[in-house]
Each structure stands twice: as structure tokens, then as C-alpha cells.
């Protein structure tokens, strides 16, 4: 049984206020920060289960040495005891001064696994071996070479839209002997953006026109080119005005004829029914479909508007707006 399980069992038996006080103390002791260097303050060390058995065995050996009045048995017992003491230092050093930083920001749909990347940097010339990370039980095993950096990702499944904060994770090491466990709880202010669950809307009622019978408007009515504008990365290759470019003119993009007022607007208020969450889910599905079509589209939420455009950045901005709609932006 891991000592974490021990502490949980202990916690459930303790009175609630005591447990809260313990959590408060832990938070104060291990304050969250996007970048952490593991110092004495942050590291805990205690004999592991195997270590406790080892200490028990030392006691048995000591009794044998006493009973047999055997000095070499004494010497062996003391030697192993001293190995244990030395191992305390080595186990501690295997986490000490490690630098950890949260990197990247993952955005996912509910039901997926959000990844939380941690950049771990080993200072100096020592190899950090057999480090284990995890949320509850540490089961991701990594090594860091001398002076090297590695990136490790932890995964957590998410359910609700908005910012997801997994909170603290466990980092532990038993290297070299496994008789001691050195560990810390780290809160690197992790967060991941969770989009609404995309759900196909029941019926699409188009704002203004209603010229389309499908769920989504077909982009550009006909082949007539209305205008040219400067090429922007992300424009469809078939829309690029290659003829002009071949003549030595700057790269431009054809804009197919569709009047400004005819731009596709995905509007929160266009739905006649549905709760806020349902509407956000429908909009999410529409955003994905619109983006896949390569069309120009805009998004309207109550009190918020994203002008029509296309491309990945546009889509992500829209999804983020949907994810965070009605939420405190920082929480």
C-alpha cells in the first residue's frame, strides 16, 4: 500500500475541519506557481513500505547479533543501517532542485483526454532517475539526463466546458534503493480549455435569407468572382488568383460573389428553443461544420461578436468564445 493511500485512509478518519486544515497547510506549504524549483520546503521523504520491512529486518538482525554475541553481525547490521541513512540523502537528491514548468495549453472537447505538458529540467551534472508522475498514483516513469530537459504530459479526461484545472499532481522518486520515498505535490496552475460538446442542431433557420435547404449554406453562389483581395495564409489554394501571380502581380485571392449581408452568421439568438448549454453545443457543431467547409462565417453571442472570416485561428477563437461564454474569464 502506498503511503498516499495511507494518508487518505488517515484523512477519512480525521474530522473534517482537521482535514481542511491539512489541505490548507499543504497549499500554503506548496503554493501553486507556473514554474517551480524543488527545494527542501517542497519535498517530503519517508521510508517506503519496503523500507519499513527493511528496518524491521535490521531490528531482527540486531537481536540476532546480540543473541549470538557476534561482532561481525553487529557490523553488518550497522552497515546496512548506515546504507539506509546514506540512501536518505541520495533519494532526496534525486528530486532536489529539479525545475518544473507548465508548457503549452491544450484545448479539447468533453470526453477527450486533455494533456498537460510539464517541462522538467535537471540542473548540473547529475542524472535524475526513476522519477514517477501522476495525478493520484505516480505511474509515468521518466529519467532526465544531466543538464537535460524533457517534456512529460499527464492526461486527464474532461467533461464540462470552460477552463479545466486538474490541480495538483504527484511527483515521486524511490531511486536508488526503493527503501525511501521522496515526493511532492505540485500545482503548476495547469489549465486546459474545454469546448462545448458539439451537438447537431435540430433545424437550421437561416438568418435573413433562407435560400439554403441544407444545414449549412453552400459558400459563394455560383462562379462569379466578386472581388480580389490580398492573399492571406490559410486561403484555399483553388481560390488563389494564379493567373495574376503568373503575370508577376502580387498574390491575390478570389472572393466569390456573395454580398456582405449574405455572410454566414452563426447566431446564438437564432435558435427558437434550447437552453444556453444546448445552444452552445449546437453552435459548436455549426462552427466545426462551417470551418470544414472552408467558408467565411461569423459568430454572434449575446454581447459578443466575431467578425466573419475563416481559418484555424478564427475557428479556435470562436470555439474559445463558446467555451467561455457566461464564465468568469479567469476562473
Amino acid at each position: 500500500m502506498s503511503s498516499r493511500a495511507n494518508s487518505i485512509a488517515l484523512g477519512s478518519r480525521l474530522a473534517r475541519p482537521l482535514r481542511q486544515r491539512w489541505q490548507r497547510w499543504l497549499r500554503r506549504r506548496l503554493p501553486s506557481a507556473p514554474e517551480v524549483i524543488l527545494t527542501q520546503r517542497r519535498l517530503f521523504i519517508f521510508p517506503s513500505a519496503a523500507g519499513l520491512v527493511f528496518l524491521l529486518m535490521l531490528l531482527v538482525m540486531l537481536v540476532a547479533a546480540i543473541n549470538y554475541q557476534n561482532n561481525m553481525a553487529y557490523a553488518l547490521t550497522f552497515l546496512l543501517g548506515c546504507v539506509f541513512v546514506v540512501a536518505v540523502h541520495h533519494t532526496f537528491a534525486n528530486l532536489h532542485r529539479l525545475r518544473l514548468r507548465a508548457v503549452g495549453l491544450d484545448s479539447v472537447f468533453p470526453g477527450q483526454q486533455a494533456s498537460f505538458a510539464i517541462r522538467m529540467t535537471a540542473p548540473g551534472k547529475r542524472r535524475y532517475q526513476g522519477l514517477r508522475l501522476g495525478w493520484e498514483s505516480a505511474d509515468t516513469l521518466v529519467d532526465i539526463g544531466p543538464g537535460a530537459s524533457i517534456t512529460v504530459s499527464l492526461y486527464h479526461s474532461v467533461t464540462r466546458r470552460g477552463w479545466y484545472r486538474p490541480g495538483k499532481f504527484l511527483l515521486e522518486s524511490r531511486y536508488p534503493l526503493g527503501l525511501l520515498r521522496c515526493w511532492t505535490w505540485l500545482d503548476l496552475d495547469f489549465r486546459a480549455l474545454v469546448y462545448p460538446q458539439p451537438v447537431d442542431p435540430p433545424v437550421m433557420s437561416r438568418d435573413g435569407g433562407g435560400q439554403s435547404d441544407g444545414l449549412l449554406p453552400v459558400p459563394g453562389s455560383g462562379d462569379d468572382i466578386a472581388d480580389f483581395r490580398d492573399y492571406r495564409p490559410g486561403d484555399a489554394l483553388r481560390a488563389v488568383n494564379w493567373q495574376a501571380w503568373a503575370k508577376g502581380q502580387p498574390l491575390t485571392t478570389k472572393v466569390y460573389g456573395e454580398p456582405e449581408s449574405d455572410d454566414l452568421w452563426l447566431d446564438f439568438s437564432s435558435f427558437s428553443s434550447g437552453t444556453t448549454e444546448q445552444r452552445l453545443s449546437w453552435l459548436c457543431a455549426l462552427v466545426l461544420a462551417a470551418d470544414a467547409s472552408g467558408d467565411v462565417w461569423g459568430l454572434r453571442l449575446p454581447g459578443y461578436e466575431i467578425a466573419p472570416a475563416r481559418g484555424e485561428g478564427h475557428r479556435d477563437a470562436a470555439l474559445q468564445a463558446l467555451a467561455l461564454y457566461g464564465m468568469d474569464s479567469d476562473s
Partner: protein, 646 residues
């Protein structure tokens, strides 16, 4: 640790290696089938690893365990005692290895291994054994390290290097508890070694016994004299007296047949110069100790016996050190009690008729006991007797007749046997003394090394007005045996050390080997007296020299100080500042500035560039302060971008 975690391959190999290594020295004391079990288990487990065989089924494992316990029981006829328990431990460890799957099993095996290491010391505490156990410990620690290394990482340090480093750091630290831990009395009595072959002399004498020792160059004991070493020919180390003759075998008198159970009631009045010495004796599994007559043990607990020997309170199971003072000139038992005269003259009348006739003829010539003794010695000298370790076997029931009149080839015990029998036939109180004679002086440290091949038997006869007098009939036949020692007396005898081709003693004529042999022996004496024999008076003496005065506070201070001194350098090395760890100076200055502003309630936002932050701060501050912060930040920027100029 997850119980389901698999036992890594490297850990398995280290465990197999350490298990076989630990087993080897114990095989000297255990039946060889234990090695077969260990090899079979290792092979099986290796084949499982290779994927060729599978783990034994649960019922097979249970069957194996029962069979192993039964085999131990059959081998030793008991499960009590040290040897059967060690055998059980080893077999259990082998079977555990066979079924080891998870890393938890690895921990169990390694921790069991440390305990097996301890058992090696219960049989042998010599320097080679200590080095060997250190090696075993390093291997077991390597197994633990392999359990905790990332099995996928190739670049990690080799486990053996790490474990040797750990042991090297722990060794000096170990000295502190070794010095300070009080050597308390046993908490309860422990199983003793009964089953192994007894080394050294036995407590009975039948023709042929001492010859077995003549092949053995193991050290029986070492002695260090406080003053000059007496000549080797005077070193008759008395072990035990054999005065009870029964069906051709000499034994000790039973304690019940003597008043006060054979204990010495009053020590004799000592005469002459005392001789002080210290002995460290190898384990014998017997109680008797060795000394030159008349010896008084200085150790508490030693028991003086009425035949002027002394014995240990319990069987000597480990190396034992004791101090003795001897008064060689002291007459022993000048007033012979009637019961002892009766006991020491008993000899069956029907035995050895030819010898009896010979002795009767001597008695009729001169009935004076002194004259009879001299007559007998002269007879040994004048008749064609030979000293040899390989006498022809004598199956005749009348051993003395057969030896004295037919074979006439033998060694000390044949002579002592026959001589004592003759004296008893003449009505003179006589007994056999078994012990060692002579030894080898190590010039390096002046100790006398007495080996099993120095085992000897001689006689003591009681003479009116003189008490018990030592008579050595072997000296009459082979004076070299007494004057020069057995290795000189048997210089050309092929049977000497015939079974020990590698014995360093065989090559004592080669200068370098002999020098090394003496050096090693001196080291062994130091080891035995300072390390193995540490405790009791030695401990108090050493602590007094270290601390001046033994008080709890001084002991605590010394221990803590010592630990700090020993652990300090290694710990500093482990936690020493690493290059590139401190942020550059400009960054440190900026962090200081941020902390100062934070105390005033202005917090830098996550990801906010330093310049942006400072501009934002400036807008919220009065003119003067804003200017000051700007100038400070300008300095930091200068440091950051033009480090050479600052």
C-alpha cells in the same frame, strides 16, 4: 510501488547472482544438495525469463516447499539448531526466487538476502569472510537499484557502481555505532551449532584421532605473551585430561564421579614467575579452553576444574578471546586425594598381558615410581620406535601390546596411550593430557600461532612430593617433534598436509610466500583481537581513550559530531551548487524589483513582458517614484543586454 509492477530483468539477474554468491561459503557447513536446489531454481527461473519454461503451478510450489523442509529434516534429523535453520532459509530463498514475478518479490528476496549474509558471519568472522559479505551486500544493493531504475533508460549508471558508492559512504559511518553500541548480554538462548563437523580435538582418544588433525593447517588459537615468549618446547597447551579408560577408549572423568562435580575447590599456592598472555581461540563447539600449566583464567565466567584446566561457561561457538596468567613452576596436587588416586590408576587387568609382564619385570627391578617412569622412557628411546603420522592400522583388541611389541610406528597419541597404560599397570596415577604443543612464532607481531596440526597428547604422572608431572613419551622417540615442532619433525613425510595442497604452510620455504603468510597472520590477529573480539573491557578501554571519560553527553556529542564529519563531505557533494542553476544577475535584480512592487500591491501579470509591466506600473505611480523605477529598470536592461559594460 504497485504490487503488479514486474520484476525488471536486471534485478532478476542481480538477485540470482547474489543468491548463488551467498550460498557458496555456507556450503562448507551444509549438505551439498542445497546448492543443487539453488542451481535448479535459478536455472528454472532463467528459463521462465527466456520464455522457454513456465512458472511452477501453485500445487507444485507447495509440493516443493514440503519436499525441501522434509529434506532438511532428513539431512539434519532435526529442525532446531543453526545449520538446519540456515538450510531452511536458503531453500526458502531459492523457492521464492523461482516464483518471483513482481518487484515486491524482488524486495522480499533482497531483504531476505541481507539476513542470509548475517548467517555467513555466524560460521566465520575472518577477514576474507568480511570482504566476501561486503561483496554480497553490494550485489543485493545492486538488485535493489535495478528494481528502481527505469528499465527503458539505457544511459543510467550501472547498479554495481552506485551500490559500491553507497557502501563506501556507509562504511566509515558504520564505525560510530560499532564503537558505541553497548554489547549487551543475549536476550534469550539461541540455537547452537551441533550438526556441523566439529573442528579441533575431540574429547575422546582412540588411536587415529590426532592424525586427522595432522592434516589440517587451520588455526586453533593464537596467543600473545605480555613478556618474552617461552621456548616452543615448553609450550604445552593443556586442553583436557583423559583419565577414564573404557573399552580401549580414553575419556574424561564424568563430573558425577568426582566431588563438587569436578570443580577446583582451592587454587594451589603459586610458585615462581607468572606468565601473562592473551588467547584468541577459533570456535570449537566445545567448552574447554587452553592454557599452560598452572593457568588461572582472568575472564569472568571461566570455570576452573580440579585437574587444573578451565572451561568456558558455554560451548565456544565464535572466536573467543581470554586472558590467562600461568605459573609454570607451581606443583599441582601434592596431596593426592584417595578418590583421585583410585580413579587415575584404574586399568582393566585382563588387557595387554605382555605389557603387564614387562612392567612387572621393571617393578621387580626397582619399585620406585620415578625409576619406572625413566625405565619406560628409556625403553621407548632404545627400542626401534618410529614417529609417523601414517602408522599401520591396529585392529587388535589389545592395542598397547600390538603397538609396543609389533608395529612400533605411531605418533603422539600412540605413545601417550601406551605410556599411560603402562604407568597405570605399575600402579602409578597417570592420565593423558590432550592439547597442543608448540606453535609458530609470527615475527611480525610476536604472537604464537597454534594450528590444528600442532595437536598433541602427552601424559601426566603423579609422583610423591612433586604432584602431577608432565611426561612426554613422544619426546623420547622424536625429540624434533618437541624441539622444532611438527612441521620440522615431518619435513620429509609425504603424509604431512597431504590433503591441503594449497596450504601456505607447504610453501613456507619460499621467502615471499612466508613473508606474506606472516603478514596476513599478524593482520588476522589484529582483526580477531580488535574487531571480532571487540566488546566488554576492550570497548570501555577504547571509548575511554576516545572520550577521556565515558558520559552520556560526551557519547552523544561524539556520535553526532562524527556523523556530521563523515556524512558532511558526501552530502555537500550531492547537494553542491550546480553551474547554470542561478539565474543571471539581471534577472535576479528584476525579480527583486518585482517582489518590492508586489509588497506594494502591484502584481506582474502572467506572461507580461518586463517592459510592459514597468510602463504599466509607472502610470499608476506619482511622478517621482515612476522616474526612480524607470532609472532602476534602465540599469537592469543595461545589465541584461550589455553585460560587459556593467
Amino acid at each position: 510501488m504497485k504490487a503488479s509492477a514486474q520484476l525488471p530483468r536486471d534485478a532478476l539477474f542481480w538477485l540470482i547472482g547474489s543468491q548463488l554468491l551467498m550460498l557458496l561459503p555456507l556450503l562448507l557447513y551444509l549438505p551439498p544438495w542445497i546448492l543443487a536446489v539453488a542451481l535448479a531454481a535459478s536455472l528454472w527461473r532463467f528459463q521462465v525469463y527466456q520464455g522457454r519454461w513456465s512458472y511452477p503451478a501453485r500445487w507444485a510450489r507447495a509440493l516443493l516447499a514440503i519436499a525441501a523442509a522434509a529434506a532438511v529434516l532428513v539431512s539434519f534429523r532435526s529442525l532446531l539448531g543453526l545449520e538446519p535453520m540456515v538450510a531452511l532459509l536458503l531453500v526458502a530463498s531459492s523457492l521464492k526466487l523461482l516464483e518471483a514475478k513482481s518487484s515486491r518479490d524482488g524486495y522480499v528476496l533482497a531483504i531476505l538476502g541481507f539476513f542470509i549474509c548475517l548467517n555467513i558471519f555466524l560460521f566465520d568472522q575472518s577477514i576474507p569472510s568480511a570482504i566476501y559479505v561486503l561483496l554480497c551486500v553490494a550485489l543485493l544493493l545492486s538488485a535493489l537499484i535495478a528494481l528502481n531504475q527505469n528499465p527503458n533508460a539505457q544511459a543510467g549508471k550501472r547498479p554495481l557502481g552506485v551500490s559500491v558508492g553507497l557502501v563506501a559512504q556507509a562504511l566509515p559511518l558504520m564505525v560510530l555505532p560499532f564503537l558505541f553500541f553497548p554489547r549487551i548480554a543475549p536476550l534469550w538462548s539461541v540455537p547452537i551449532k551441533r550438526h556441523g563437523a566439529e573442528t579441533g580435538m575431540s574429547d575422546t582418544l582412540r588411536p587415529g584421532d590426532v592424525a586427522r588433525l595432522g592434516q589440517n593447517d587451520a588455526v586453533a588459537f593464537r596467543a600473545q605473551f605480555a613478556g618474552d615468549i617461552p621456548p616452543l618446547s615448553a609450550l604445552y597447551w593443556r586442553g583436557l585430561t583423559l583419565g577414564s579408560f573404557d573399552d580401549g577408549t580414553w575419556r574424561q572423568h564424568r563430573a558425577r564421579s568426582m566431588p563438587n562435580y569436578g570443580r577446583l575447590e582451592a587454587p594451589p599456592a603459586t610458585v615462581g614467575e607468572p606468565l601473562a598472555y592473551r588467547i584468541i581461540q577459533a570456535p570449537t563447539q566445545q567448552r574447554w579452553l587452553y592454557g599452560l600449566r598452572y593457568a588461572e583464567p582472568q575472564n569472568p565466567g571461566a570455570i576452573a576444574i580440579s585437574d587444573f584446566r578451565f572451561v568456558a561457561p558455554a560451548a565456544v561457538e565464535f572466536e573467543m578471546g581470554y586472558r590467562v596468567i600461568s605459573w609454570p613452576g607451581t606443583p599441582l596436587e601434592v596431596d593426592l586425594p584417595e578418590w583421585r588416586r583410585r580413579l587415575e590408576t584404574e586399568y582393566p587387568a585382563r588387557r595387554d598381558a605382555r605389557t603387564r609382564a614387562l612392567v612387572a619385570s621393571w617393578l621387580s627391578d626397582n619399585p620406585d615410581p620415578v625409576a619406572v617412569v625413566e625405565r619406560a622412557l628409556r625403553w621407548f628411546r632404545e627400542q626401534p620406535f618410529y614417529y609417523t603420522l601414517e602408522p599401520p592400522p591396529i585392529v587388535d583388541r589389545d592395542f598397547v601390546d600390538a603397538f609396543l611389541f609389533e608395529s612400533r610406528r605411531g605418533f603422539c597419541e600412540h605413545y601417550a596411550y601406551s605410556f599411560t597404560a603402562m604407568m597405570r599397570q605399575a600402579g602409578i596415577p597417570a592420565r593423558i593430557v590432550a592439547g597442543y604443543q608448540g606453535g609458530e612464532i609470527n615475527p611480525v607481531n610476536g604472537t604464537v600461532v597454534v594450528r590444528q596440526l600442532d595437536a598433541h597428547a602427552w601424559s601426566e604422572v603423579w609422583l610423591e612430593g612433586q604432584g602431577w608431572v608432565r611426561v612426554d613419551p613422544t619426546g623420547a622417540v622424536s625429540p624434533e617433534r618437541i624441539e622444532l615442532g611438527i612441521s620440522e619433525a615431518l619435513r620429509d613425510d609425504a603424509s604431512f598436509l597431504a590433503n591441503s595442497p594449497m596450504s601456505a604452510l607447504r610453501y613456507r620455504d619460499i621467502g615471499v610466500i612466508n613473508w606474506l603468510r606472516m603478514r596476513y597472520d599478524a593482520m588476522a590477529w589484529q582483526w580477531q583481537s580488535l574487531v571480532v573480539g571487540f566488546g566488554g573491557d576492550t570497548q570501555i578501554e577504547v571509548l575511554k581513550r576516545l572520550l577521556g571519560e565515558i558520559t552520556p553527553s560526551r557519547m552523544v556529542l561524539f556520535t553526532l559530531g562524527g556523523a556530521l564529519l563523515i556524512l558532511g563531505p558526501g552530502t555537500w557533494w550531492l547537494f553542491r551548487p550546480q553551474p547554470g542553476e542561478r539565474p543571471p544577475p539581471a534577472e535576479r535584480d528584476f525579480q527583486r524589483l518585482c517582489r518590492r512592487l508586489e509588497r506594494r500591491g502591484i502584481k506582474r501579470l502572467r506572461g507580461e513582458a518586463p517592459r510592459t509591466f514597468v510602463e504599466r506600473v509607472k502610470t499608476g505611480l506619482p511622478e517621482r517614484e515612476a522616474r526612480q523605477i524607470e532609472s532602476e529598470f534602465a540599469l537592469i536592461e543595461a545589465k541584461l543586454y550589455e553585460p560587459a559594460r556593467t
